[in-house]
Symmetry: C2
Subunit: 475 residues, 2 copies
Amino acid sequence: MSKLKTQEHTPVTLSESLIGSLKEITGADNVFYDTESLEAYSHDETEDLSFPPQVVVKPDSTEQVSAILKLASAENIPVTPRGAGTGLSGGCLPLHGGIALSLERMNRILEIDTTNFICVTEPGVIVQTLQEAIEEKNLFYPVDPASRGSCFIGGNVAENSGGPRAVKYGVTKDFVLGLTAVLPNGDIIKTGGKLYKDVTGYNLTQTLVGSEGTLAVITEILLKLIPLPSLHLMLMIPFPSLEQAAKTVSAIMSAGIDPSALEFMERDAIIASREQLGTHIDYDDAAAHLLIELDGNNQDLIDERAEKIGEIAMAHEALDVLLAESKQKQEELWNIRRSLSEAVKSRSVYKEEDTVVPRDKIPELLSRIKELCARWKIASVCYGHAGDGNIHVNLLKDDLPDDVWNNGLDTMIRELFAIVVDLGGSLTGEHGVGYSQREYISIMKTPAELAIMKRVKDAFDPQGILNPGKIFPTE
Amino acid sequence: MSKLKTQEHTPVTLSESLIGSLKEITGADNVFYDTESLEAYSHDETEDLSFPPQVVVKPDSTEQVSAILKLASAENIPVTPRGAGTGLSGGCLPLHGGIALSLERMNRILEIDTTNFICVTEPGVIVQTLQEAIEEKNLFYPVDPASRGSCFIGGNVAENSGGPRAVKYGVTKDFVLGLTAVLPNGDIIKTGGKLYKDVTGYNLTQTLVGSEGTLAVITEILLKLIPLPSLHLMLMIPFPSLEQAAKTVSAIMSAGIDPSALEFMERDAIIASREQLGTHIDYDDAAAHLLIELDGNNQDLIDERAEKIGEIAMAHEALDVLLAESKQKQEELWNIRRSLSEAVKSRSVYKEEDTVVPRDKIPELLSRIKELCARWKIASVCYGHAGDGNIHVNLLKDDLPDDVWNNGLDTMIRELFAIVVDLGGSLTGEHGVGYSQREYISIMKTPAELAIMKRVKDAFDPQGILNPGKIFPTE
């Protein structure tokens, strides 16, 4: 068994016969190699990256995925699995060319089991579509990244996606009870089951969740569901300083209140959103806002918690506490929050970091980031899931000369991550390492830690054909 | 690097110089090889098994554990980590002799962080001790296996322990945010952190939780804590048939009620407990009881749910619905539940199975088990965490002739597991595979699934020195 040896940017050549074999597996209609298709599958939502595959294949079943991987193993061809292409770390980019394996046709919800509270789904279902189908049965799958209207559940599982509701309900991994997955050699395995407890053998489910498509291709997912809360209340709270907003986050959580979202947005993010949406936002000149959601089934309990939050916020110099009780007003607030990423990024060339720290370190994280940015004269806009300590830091080029930006950015990011690690944090809370963060991982992980991860990778993918070039730094 | 080659029951011989080196690492006071010590560390709570080590070592720090494993790797000596020895699958038995590595001296609670709701602890802390220290801070670590008064948190992490409260709060894995662990080669790694979101690299935390001490030795644990609920209510509900009790379980859960315990106990278990404790139990002639706990912070909500449970139970022919509102009465009920295991097992030679099925399959599981046992003329007593579908099946020899028991048991267990697998279940919900279930694992896992697990084992432990002989079937 030989190891894959290709050069990034210098893709392997695929033979006519390989293309023919792929067409036999999926039908000729599901194999694409025209320039337009290759371009379309060359990027995701991560900055300005493009790595085209040589061929795009769209299988329709676990068996077809298995046949493709058997073929790729035999021919030593790189295979890069792909969901909806909404990732923010370049996880689905075919760095080494080869086969882009799109799961988009495997888009069936197989079962919503209302007795055991479990959903069985294929990976290519859009998260919002899945959530709505589940909510129709009065059940709830709460993990909703900002891209929920377009991202696939399979990509969420591969990346262990988070989102605002993680603060109360947890991230994707906390809902995955089992998987069907295809190993790089084509072997099909099942992990877990419709079971809330299961310790027969190693927990391969959780080894695969968040492995960024580098260990296996996920073709079926069992998700835990919970009862749908019937009541929601939202609060929008403007603050005169980042620090007071950040301290309020920790105070709310330490008080044992369990908001279903606790989002932080600094002024420039709010302004970018206001301009993008053309909407009015109260206190849009405040230094920062907290957006807080409470959910449950008892109005008194929700009101009680809202009142407590209001008190905590006012004790931290909040400018006001605005309530959104109607569904419509709540949707407006969520729209603001969900628009931030695109709005901020449309302002300038940018680089986004997905920092996470223990939540009581957020005030220090923010002040040290602002200090760092001032020193580098690089603008930054921060927002994110503050209840989890997960702050997205957008570094913006604005009018900075190209050479200053290009020469400085890498060093500045290393300094930024050094701060994060110093605060007991991690490089990425929910976006993944993928391609865009791989050179930084050794800031955080020791050689011994990287070595054991590499051995796990080799255990699953001895040839190194599955999503090559991701997670680990180049040598 | 050579692979470990020893025979179970024919342990390797340890040289004087190796013993000397161990004494240098931990101090001579913490190395034991007298017959009494070797016997004491030869068994756990799993049936009647005994595999003595050649030496017992009690390190006091991560660095000492690392030094021991470096030595063992160099000398190719088996090392079996051990918590409190309360396991139910023989996970800590030194099958191949060698070094028993006891974590009992690493028994310090390092931090209870009341701001971030995280506890940092060494592995040798007794779970109940840990829980009580946490509850003093008005926080909650809910995972409480029946052995909580004696088992170690490290063993709970190694086995991914469950217990009654898993039905609401989840199992051990759902609370582990990070680990310090020593690999078989002596490398020290840290995984996770004081972070509720973290996707930098593979999820080694969850690869290690539940790996039964076969991949690494866990020396420090970060646990998520939650706010302590202030109110509890318990219900004891007798039923005239197993079937009606089992159907009630599924009905309660499907109604979206979230009991913090939903335990099933059949008549013979109740009777064994009554005799063991010398206590009066109402309706002790009922075919089965459900023991249900509700917790929370709002009495009205608890009462409302209790009423709903009562209605569901009565609709399933419950004989009565008994409430336990006082702390004392509740403790009495928990005592009954926690006594079952020992009480049932004191009746006869036994073999315990730890079956788990989708919770709506419990009625069918129970009826098929009873049918199977009748056919084999083997008595069975069932009880367990029915809310999770996790039923402990105690097979009792009673007056059966030795040869009938000895010759039949293995085949009967295979038939039992075939039923479990047919119902979409798993061989073990919380006890682990360890030694006692390893020959059955291939009833459930395919050759491809076992092969990838074996490759994961090899990635962590290429020499095969760490807890050898566990999980995988003999060839």
